[in-house]
Amino acid sequence: MALKLTDLKTSVHNDWCPGCGDFGVLNAIQMSLAEMDLEPHRVAVFSGIGCSGKIPHYINTYGIHTLHGRVLPYAIGAKLADPSLEVIAAGGDGDGMGIGAGHMVNAGRRNVDICYIMFDNGVYGLTKGQASPTLSLGLKTKSLSGPNINEAINPITLAMASGYTFIARGYSYDVRQLKELIKKGINHRGSAFISILQPCPTYNDINTMEWHGGQDRKDPATGKAMPRVYRIEEKGYDPSIHSGDADELNKKMQEVNSLGNQLGDEIPIGLFYSNETIPTYEERVAERLPNYLKTPPAKQQVSGPSGEPVADISALLDNLCMT
């Protein structure tokens, strides 16, 4: 029986601000899971802290609202113990690029088969609008006392440097494209990173929905807004790595970095990079532990009905035995 969107909703009151970009991401995740017909118990949504961290409570799947910055190690631990779970990690830009940046970088080099969704709004909303690591130098959003004194981290180029094998940028008001990106990210074999431009209507009065939509720059000829965001797939861009040889990788890396850096009047959104030529962490583990994929840690029976352990350590003890 196909899942309905309502099957993925909970009755928890959603306390995000009206007009929050988070709603677009929430809808896109629920639509993706429904379209993929992933039953709620097969999915675990992990999150960090902040407004976006509340997202699991609104989704009717296993929902693990973790600590600030730590969403990835939680998600990776759960996935590696049971690779049959569909694991989605969600967190804000402060979570992923600030307090959890070390985890974000190190997750990239492992390539565990999870989908990491990062909400990028340039501010720490829940603590009243401080600058986040993705806010550009010199910008002064509403609640800052002066212009931002730090340079911004670019999530896309950092993801590229860290080794993510699927890198995309979405926009929370383009739910249709976002849903497709999330579906692809879940289906991707390896670590998928989706950075989502997601305006904070309360604290980021610069990178607003209107700004992304180009309401401030109308075509003199037609009088229509000229949106800053555009879908890259509509420009015939091919994100895939085909052979995986060094030349191809280098060229693609440059393209992705260049796309990632376009955050001004032309902001490409869509899938920038997809590389399935690199083995996942689970596959690497399976090379060492032949039973791993069949009986991963969470599925191993460790004892009999009376609690008797099944592991036989007598050979190890004999190695230490001196008689």
């Binding site: 909970t10 039953e39 709620p40 118990h41 675990a44 802290i49 699991p56 409570h57 009717n60 296993y62 929902g63 693990i64 609202h65 973790t66 600590l67 730590r70 190690p73 939680y74 998600a75 990776i76 631990g77 759960a78 590696l80 113990a81 049971d82 779970l85 070390g102 970088v105 190190n106 583990v285 060492r288 532990l289 032949p290 039973n291 791993y292 069949k294 991963p296 840690p297 969470a298 599925k299 191993q300 029976q301 460790v302 009999g304 009905p305 009376s306 609690g307 008797e308 352990p309 099944v310 592991a311 036989d312 350590i313 007598s314 190890l316 003890l317 230490l320 035995c321 001196m322 008689t323």
Partner: protein, 663 residues
């Protein structure tokens, strides 16, 4: 003549094989039917700094070091300079005759304080500042000095074997020092040969080289010096199967048999040895015959064919280590992480999260000298209060402290059982002494080990759980505070977790009524534990219940205390010893009943402020009379315990006694 009782010491620069030779010595003694206890002391350094290893040998089981060696085996100058003056009267020093003229100032790794003390000592005795001077001082103290021409013996062996390069192999001096000791002790050379074969298993060339140089040193010393040395080791016939192992191995073995299937870690001294051992042995042999339902042929064959394994995950930091272990535990694997103090600092937020979300996770905590980076490779029990109180707010945790390698093994199993039964973080407190000391034990008995996975629910019984409700409640309010849990992926068992206060489903709440009920539910588990866990897993009273004097301690000082009690008995001083194994929840009532019987109580701990004594006073109102503490980074020895007990029993000496022995 002193038979089969010896304290032997070997030292040298780190990276030159000191550990291997000490383990060789210990293995050989164990193979010869004796019990050994070896303590390793080393700097936080890869190569060059001085390390030493003390191996105590006895005919009965022993658990602790003594302060002074009977026989010091050396092949470098620094070991002579640092340790010669501590050798017991009538003891011996084996040294390299080619190094007699090395001056104290030639040793760049001697600390200023050590150098100054030695120079003062030598000047007062009008001796030169060299190996010769030190040896002469020892000789005057009644210590026998045995010169060995290591270089000449190596050259001889090289020509016998037709291996001219061998004479450059200074690493061989390790084995020669062990063999020379055996010659002096007139111990059977064949046990050394079997220990060499065991140590270099499968490398026949290396075995032959070691045996040859070993024999040459053995013969040289035995012929020339043995008759004058009063300590002897003799083979003892025994049918008993024995293991010779370190605490980090014992803990890892306990984890393997106890069902641990995910271990996470970030490298740190002295904890990572355990993870290394697990990773080296991560593919498990499964014995399906152990299963009571082995009649289920299909299942049995499946298990046998697919085996088991432990996923050992090295993370980017300790924050990731604990949170990944928690993630794995949510999926259903028995999960643990191992660390030391600095790593535990980073784990605190994760542990609090596991506390509020009632996740079973085991933290194996190897204490070392603090604060901050402190003394990374030295011992201390300075983190009891930290383990007890770390984390914002209040949540239940179990803290278990092992006193020897055998307890490390069984407590590793207990830790997982408690974690899953009571759904909370368990801290298994170990320290550097236990981690890095090696001891002989009768083979561990595996027959009584049981795994208790606690209340895990799935499928058909899910709907009955929540009294009429159709949906599963992860944090259902219950009498004993324990709510049956589901594992991620269980159909019908969807739940939510959050570090925020939550309702029975796991959704965020700030409602004051639910808050109180949820706090009460979680904290109730401490009472449940207090009622359920057998007292013998929580404390042990060693010795005669009726003794007037009671020693109270925890963790690794157990060894020195037990050994000291034996020695004191011989001097007609009788004390008993209350060993606290479960630090939290503390078995207060039993502690009160033991301590209120004692006329005098003495706490012994390796920290500055007598942390356990403080915790006992807080929990029971009983103030322990005397505190014996040690915080110089070196382990407590049997004789230090003996001396302090005698002082305190006979003279009612000060309230606080600080132990300072150790180099």
């Amino acid at each position: 003549m002193t038979n089969n009782q010896l304290t032997w010491m070997i030292g040298g620069s780190q990276g030159t094989g000191v550990d291997s030779s000490a383990l060789l010595f210990g293995r050989a003694c164990t193979l010869g039917g004796l019990y050994g206890y070896g303590n390793r002391e080393y700097y936080s350094n890869i190569k060059g700094e001085h390390s030493y290893f003390m191996v105590r040998v006895h005919q009965k089981i022993i658990h602790s070091p003594l302060s002074k060696p009977d026989l010091l085996a050396t092949f470098d100058a620094e070991t002579v300079i640092r340790h010669a003056l501590s050798v017991n009267v009538d003891g011996g020093i084996i040294y390299n005759s080619e190094l007699s003229n090395v001056k104290l100032t030639d040793i760049p790794t001697l600390e200023h304080r050590v150098l100054e003390d030695l120079v003062t000592y030598l000047d007062n005795n009008k001796l030169e500042h060299s190996v010769n001077g030190i040896l002469e001082a020892s000789r005057r103290n009644g210590v026998h000095i045995y010169a060995i021409p290591y270089g000449d013996l190596l050259k001889e062996a090289a020509s016998t074997l037709g291996e001219p390069k061998l004479s450059n192999l200074t690493r061989m001096m390790n084995t020669m020092a062990v063999a020379a000791s055996f010659g002096l002790l007139e111990f059977d050379l064949s046990v050394l040969d079997s220990a060499i074969s065991r140590t270099f298993h499968g490398k026949s060339k290396i075995i032959q080289l070691n045996m040859t140089v070993g024999k040459s040193a053995y013969d040289y010393v035995k012929g020339k010096y043995a008759s004058g040395f009063q300590y002897k080791l003799k083979k003892v016939q025994t049918e008993e199967k024995r293991v010779f192992l370190q605490g980090n191995q014992a803990t890892a073995l306990g984890k393997l048999v106890g069902g641990c299937r995910v271990q996470t870690y970030y490298p740190i001294s002295p904890a990572s040895d355990e993870s290394d051992y697990l990773e080296a042995n991560q593919i498990l042999k499964i014995n399906p015959r152990r299963l009571s339902d082995s009649s289920n042929v299909e299942k049995t064959t499946y298990l046998e064919k697919n085996g088991g394994s432990v996923l050992v995950l090295q993370t980017e930091d300790e924050t990731a280590a604990i949170t990944a272990a928690i993630g794995a535990a949510l999926s259903g694997a028995r999960s643990s992480t191992s660390t030391s103090g600095p790593g535990f600092c980073l784990m605190v937020e994760g542990m609090g999260w596991a506390g509020i979300n009632e996740v079973p996770v085991v933290i194996t905590y190897y204490q070392r000298g603090g604060p901050s980076t402190g003394m990374p490779t030295r011992q201390e029990q300075g983190d009891l209060r930290f383990a007890l109180h770390a984390g914002q707010g209040e949540f239940p945790r179990i803290i278990l402290a092992s006193g020897d390698q055998r307890e490390c093994f069984y407590d590793a199993v207990h830790s997982f059982n408690y974690a899953e039964r009571y759904q909370l973080p368990v801290i298994h407190l170990i320290d550097k002494t236990l981690a890095n000391s090696t001891a002989t034990y009768p083979m561990f008995d595996l027959s009584g080990i049981r795994i208790d996975r606690g209340a895990i629910t799935n499928g058909e019984n899910l709907n009955n759980l929540s009294s009429g409700d159709k949906t599963y409640k992860r944090f259902l309010f219950t009498e004993d505070g324990i709510s049956p849990r589901t594992l991620l992926g269980t159909k019908g068992g969807v739940f939510w977790n959050t570090g925020d206060e939550h309702d029975e489903y796991g959704h965020i709440t700030e409602d004051p009524v639910v808050r109180v009920r949820m706090m009460d539910k979680r904290m109730k588990k401490l009472e449940t534990i207090d009622h359920e866990v057998p007292i013998q897993e929580r404390l042990t009273l060693h010795g005669n219940e009726e003794s007037d004097v009671t020693i109270v301690s925890w963790g690794s000082p157990k060894g020195a205390i037990i050994d000291a009690m034996d020695a004191l008995n011989d001097e007609n001083i009788h004390v008993n010893f209350l060993q606290i194994r479960m630090i939290n929840p503390l078995p207060s009532e039993n502690i009160i009943s033991v301590l209120s019987r004692a006329k005098k109580t003495i706490g012994i701990e390796m920290n500055y402020s007598a942390q356990l004594a403080g915790w006992i006073r807080e929990s029971t109102g009983i103030a322990i009379d005397h505190h014996v503490v040690k915080y110089n980074g070196r382990p407590i020895s049997q004789d230090e315990v003996c001396d302090s007990i005698k002082k305190l029993v006979k003279y009612d000496a000060p309230k606080r006694l600080v132990l300072t022995h150790g180099t």
